[in-house]
Amino acid sequence: MLIKNPESVLPSEITDERTFHERRRLMRAALIAAGAGLAGCSSETGAETNAAAPPKARELVTLKTSPFSTSEAMTSFHDATHYNNYYEFGTGKDDPVANAQDFKARPWQVQIDGECEAPGTLDLDSLIQPHAMEERIYRLRCVEGWSMVIPWVGFGLGDLLKRFKPTSKARYVAFQTLRDVKQMPGQRYRVLDWPYREGLRIDEAMNPLSLLAVGMYGRWLPNQNGAPLRLVVPWKYGFKSIKAIVRISFSERQPATSWNQSAPSEYGFYSNVNPDVSHPRWSQATERRIASGASLFNSRIKTLPFNGYGEQVASLYTGMDLAKNF
């Protein structure tokens, strides 16, 4: 599925040296992980065969790099997997890593429906099969005022959506997370109206920056980071990047979204990163960066409009009052 000749992916000519070495390190890590039969790395073999899987077992090797990638210092894999907002597994930052380990990310099916000519329900493999995986190192800005830099592995959301032939009525795309109280203990508490829902305007969804991720740091997504399929929209606050997606629907009307429903005055439908529009509880002017190189004393940095992706996405909002449409 994802195996290609690694020789073809060493863009040393176009990548600065630090990033290049960092990437080499990641790829090595990915190969070692696969060689060790890391649970969850194989899509269809069971756990028993997985342990004895030979190194040539399907591993998630990053194939393409992306011009959208930042060269900023990355967040460590440990930090990115031990500090998560994923209320389905608990409201504490360290709850997801503790409670998501038994989550079954395979087999997995995704339903695509609504205003499109070719709706259907696909299993994960056939969903991602046609797409070439690429690595994109994106900034992730949480609405709570902290941020990370994460190397995602995935493919363009727009490329996937086009396969289902959205009709002219498809003005929005809605996403839904799995609802399964047995596997997601956080859903026992109605802190949000489960299942978690998110949505994008169709042109936002089709923007090349919008990514469907299946991996990070050269590995399959850990459960606590939204396995097996999550959205990544880097110019919006993190909660827009919905995890463990089971349903994608095209709609004519703006879909309801979870945080907006829960507190409409605090979380808008758009939720674009905007240093000029502060949240009642957090200033959005600056952020605390969780990344290597950030110490106890220098972790705060300025927040950029659209999280620094204005060049790619600002034109989507021409003529809109972004303070009103926050």
């Binding site: 500090y83 209320y87 409201t91 930052k93 802190v191 949000l192 009642p280 200033s283 605390r288 969780i290």
Partner: protein, 218 residues
């Protein structure tokens, strides 16, 4: 007045230092997790609130148990609450905001949870400054009136916690519940004492039953 450092007070003094020692150790060992600044902020804030509630619990516990020695701890617990609140505020200013420290003015003005949190700290400041024996003597009756502000500090502290939480209110509600009980007891006692003082003076119609025990023991 007890000696400044009897063994009982010394033990509690050292006990109250444990959270900050533990925190310092975690900083030194680098075991505070991905977002150490937030951890330090949360832990110092939690301890400030816990110690404030402990301070407010001294009188009720003393009255229920008759353990009068507890009153020796009240000032120390209050000062420790202020100590942790000050660490909490300094963490926010120095570690969290850092070079952007002036952002705190906008925060105080615009963000209700910071407004009430800062106000709570500000109100604790005169209480800490007037906690010396000299000040108690000098202020006389006004000292007690001033130190009633501690109730307000408790309310503001709990509000600060409640308002900063996004959705899951369970933890701050525990603090709110404890504070409610501690304050309700005082209201109840006050009300009973007031009612008692109204009904006491005229002789009871039944005759010579002795007056009931009213109000707090001094």
């Amino acid at each position: 007045m007890p000696k400044p450092f009897n063994a009982f007070r010394l033990a509690v003094f050292l006990l109250c230092l444990c959270p900050v020692a533990w925190l310092a150790w975690d900083v030194y060992q680098n075991t505070l997790g991905p977002d150490p600044v937030q951890q330090i902020t949360h832990r110092t804030g939690n301890w400030a609130l816990r110690l404030l509630l402990l301070t407010l619990a001294v009188t009720p516990v003393r009255r229920f148990t008759g353990w009068t020695r507890l009153v020796q701890l009240r000032r120390m617990l209050g000062l420790y609450a202020f100590f942790y609140a000050t660490l909490h505020l300094s963490t926010y200013l120095v570690l969290d905001l850092g070079g952007f420290w002036s952002q705190i003015f906008a925060d105080i003005a615009k963000r209700p949870f910071i407004t009430v949190g800062f106000l709570a700290w500000l109100l604790m400041l005169p209480l800490a400054l007037t906690s010396t024996r000299g000040m108690i003597r000098r202020l006389g009756k006004r000292w007690q009136a001033l130190h009633r502000l501690v109730y307000l500090c408790g309310i503001l502290g709990v509000l600060h916690f409640l308002w900063l939480v996004k959705l899951d209110l369970r933890e701050p509600l525990v603090y709110a519940g404890i504070l409610f009980v501690l304050l309700a007891l005082r209201v109840y006692w006050h009300w009973r004492q007031a009612a008692g003082s109204v009904t006491r003076p005229p002789a009871t119609r039944e005759g010579n039953s002795p007056p009931r025990q009213h109000g707090p023991t001094p």
